[in-house]
Every structure is written in structure tokens, then in C-alpha cells.
Amino acid sequence: MALAQESLLQALLDGTRDVFETMMFMTVEPSNEMYEGIDGEALLGSITFEGVIEGCLGICTSLDSARAIACNMMGADNPDTLSSVEIADAMGEVANMVMGAVKGKIVASGDDIHVSIPTVVRGTELQNSLGDDAHEITETVSLDESIARLTLLYRFPA
């Protein structure tokens, strides 16, 4: 299984678009602005995978942006009515669905990738790590009025 970084990046972007446009009615576009981190606290939704390729997919965004995502996803009239648990849960589901979409685009018939249960952490300067031997794809995307940082860390098992 040989996958070019360009193919994985495209799968990551296409998968993210599929999820956000279908479930949240939000437009996803690569951001042309220089990424300078997320101001204040952020939420990072992550999911790991293993099989013919192994690694971790992460989506990191500000608390306000995560609240907007959860609000659209759940069809809530007022974002302020959502609890922090619901917002975190929504971010985990976003990571889960994007991983499913990416997996569907990169896994050939007969190959298999096992996906974990998603996790979500809250804090500042959040990032996943898979060790020095991992490849990394990162892309900053605009989500309507806000941004999100997509990260795909991966390696091929020996």
C-alpha cells in the first residue's frame, strides 16, 4: 500500500468537506492565512487507527468554533444552551466521521484499518504526537467564520 502525501491530504480535505457540509451545513476551504495557533483554549478531537497504515487524525479548533460546530450538528437554536460535555462529544463525533470518510477514500478493497473510539481534550497549544518516525500532514481550513487545524500523523508498520 503506497500512498502519496498529496493523496492523503486530498482525502483529508475531501473527507472533512463531506462531513461538515452534510452534517453541519458549514463550508470548508483551505485557509490561505499563516497559521499562528488558536487563541485561548481549544478542543482537540482525535482518533487513532491501525492496520495497513497506522496513526492518528486530529481536528483542533477554538471553543467558540467547537460550540458553533456542535450547535449546527445538533440543530440547536441557541449555542449557549449546549453543555461542555455535548460540545466535546460533538467534536469526538466529527473526528470519528472525518476518519471514516478518509478511511473510505484511502483503503483499497481487501485492506483493513481498525479505528479507535474518539477522544477529546481541552487546553492550550494542543497537538498529537506519534514519535519521530511518523509522517505528518497538517492543513488549516476555514469553517465559515472560524478556522480548524487538521492533522494526520501516520506510518506504515514494518
Partner: protein, 124 residues
């Protein structure tokens, strides 16, 4: 007559989203939609509160959706219960496999109300 439903997903948020989507799809369903957090809880609830249709996630901690289908189909009490899987997994062999084990339908996440309506309509 309105159908009775159960939504099985480890994410409470996703259970809410699925429930809202079902209502948005305009299907004739009972006012109360039962919920369970994994396959084991769903099997327990089915014993005391049988439903017409179960919508079940696959990737869950505890008993996952694949095991739930197998165990649910071993109980004759669930013979008439329709089981629709809802998952991010889209591999054809997985879909064929879970249908062979007894699932009646399959919806891939992300989904629209139209997708849910199309999959559930034959059982309404």
C-alpha cells in the same frame, strides 16, 4: 400506526442527532424513542421494551454493533425487529457481512434526513 424505535450509540450527542434527523425526515414514529449506549444495554432494553426498529452504531466500547446484531438475531423475540446499522464504516465487505448476520439496512455517516428516510421507509 407509529413505529417504535431504539437508537444505539455510545455518543449521547449522536443519539440526539439521529433522533432529531428521524423526526425531521417526517417518518411516523412513536413519541418516545428509546436509547442505549452500547449493544449490551440495547439487548437488555429489548427484553422489557421490544421495538419495531433499532438503529445501531458499529464502533462502540462495550458490545459493538456487529456483536449486537449476532446476539439479537439469536433471540426469537427479536425476529420481527428491523435492525439498521449507522456507521462511518463504508467498506462493502463489512456491509455485506453485517447484513448476512441479520442487519436489515445500513446508513453511512455523515447522513442527511433524506438518507434516513430512504433507508427506513420500507419498514414503516
Amino acid at each position: 400506526m407509529a413505529k417504535t424505535l431504539m437508537v444505539v450509540d455510545d455518543s449521547a450527542t449522536m443519539r440526539k442527532i439521529i433522533t432529531r434527523t428521524i423526526r425531521k425526515a417526517g417518518l411516523s414514529v412513536a413519541d418516545e424513542i428509546l436509547e442505549a449506549g452500547d449493544g449490551g444495554e440495547a439487548l437488555e432494553k429489548l427484553k422489557s421494551s421490544p421495538v419495531d426498529i433499532v438503529l445501531c452504531d458499529i464502533n462502540m466500547p462495550g458490545m459493538n454493533g456487529l456483536e449486537f446484531v449476532k446476539q439479537a438475531r439469536q433471540d426469537p423475540a427479536n425476529a420481527n425487529t428491523k435492525i439498521i446499522m449507522i456507521s462511518t464504516e463504508s467498506a462493502e465487505d463489512l456491509i455485506h457481512g453485517v447484513k448476512a448476520d441479520g442487519a436489515d439496512g445500513y446508513v453511512t455517516k455523515p447522513f442527511t434526513p433524506e438518507t434516513i428516510q430512504k433507508e427506513l421507509s420500507p419498514f414503516m
